[in-house]
């Protein structure tokens, strides 16, 4: 795992190629995370790919509901030679959830970005076929946002529910 100093060196190296790309670096539980400005994510991925992080193991979305900007996208990068894991994080607002897709750099992001679009509504520019992957194609709403109701059956155990009106309210 890149230790704190390694993380800072990596952040500076990205800074050389992309001047204002890195917003913050977090070092938590021996795990490095780089907070990136959404506009530069494609370029940062190229830099990290040349720096050895050639395997993208996971892309997932997070909804930081109370604090803005709400929707987060996390890329878990892995360097197989030096056994390093690195997380690249970006925060996008629900008003304009637009991010560049990294499918041409890492083809594995194809299905996972479609799932983030399906569940959180983050639109990935340049994705070959951005449609819903898990929910039915005509489903409205993004289910895994925090303000979407968990839903489910209001469980009623009375047999005469239509005789007692407004029981379910």
């Amino acid at each position: 795992m890149p230790d704190a100093t390694g993380l800072e060196l990596l952040a500076q190296e990205i800074g050389k190629h992309e001047p204002d790309a890195v917003l913050d670096t977090i070092y938590f539980r021996e795990r490095g995370t780089i907070l990136v400005d959404p506009a530069h994510v494609r370029a940062v991925m190229d830099v990290l790919r040349d720096a050895g992080y050639r395997f993208l193991s996971s892309v997932h979305g997070v909804d930081y509901y109370p604090d803005e900007p709400r929707l987060g996208v996390l890329y878990e990068l892995l360097d197989m030679e030096s056994l390093d894991r690195l997380t690249v994080k970006l925060r996008v607002d629900t008003g304009a959830p637009e991010v560049d897709s990294v499918v041409d750099v890492f083809p594995t992001a194809n299905f996972q970005e479609r799932e983030i679009y399906d569940m959180f509504g983050v639109v990935f520019r340049g994705h070959p076929e951005l449609r819903r992957i898990l929910m039915p194609e005509d489903y409205e709403g993004f289910p895994q946002r925090r303000d979407f109701p968990v839903g489910g059956e209001p469980v009623i155990f009375t047999y005469n529910q239509n005789k007692v009106p407004h029981y379910t309210e």
């Binding site: 968990v150 839903g151 489910g152 059956e153």
Partner: protein
Amino acid sequence: MEVTREPASEFRSRQLRARDMLRGDLEGAELERYVHERVITTTLDRAVSWARGNSIMPATFGLACCAIEMMSMVASRADIARFGYEAFRATPRQADLLILSGRVSIKMAPIVRRIYDQMLEPKWAIAMGACASSTGVFNNYSVVPADKFMPVDVHVPGCPPRPEALVHGVLRLRSMILGDPKLGWRERYGAEGTEEVVGPVAERESGPGADAENVFGPGDTAGA
């Protein structure tokens, strides 16, 4: 539909009479009644439902974890072949039992209903596991209980139910078929007249399902 079970005493007396008959010391009126009981009373319907009950072909319809237990029901330990159920058919045309083994999501529900409609009469359905009977552990926006979109004959509890539990569920279905050979599911559940008649409640004529009005308003169950 209650399964009637014979009192033990009567069963014992039948056994004794069968033994006497085998020994040959059953004569006259006694023998007459014995033969009458055995051969004459089986109507064609009961004979057909006996054959149908003992040779049901389930459809291979594995959804989730219960499918693994359904597979081990077919395997050698809790062997369903003892009751003639092991011929799992892939197409609904040749299957007459649909074992809903797993959680049905809202994307899968129309497909399960189409498979059930494409199965030939007479057909039965077993909702295996808590997820198919009720939504089980996942009471959320994406899981639908089986009773919401198709008529289910036997609900097998468990998450996942043991293979023996499923075999017990299948045997209850068998005794149900032997006991009550009404074939269409609408006759079985008193749902004549509920064929898909579109339109407000008032237009439907007064069949048994006529007064059923939907308790949940539109959008009440938030996508369930």
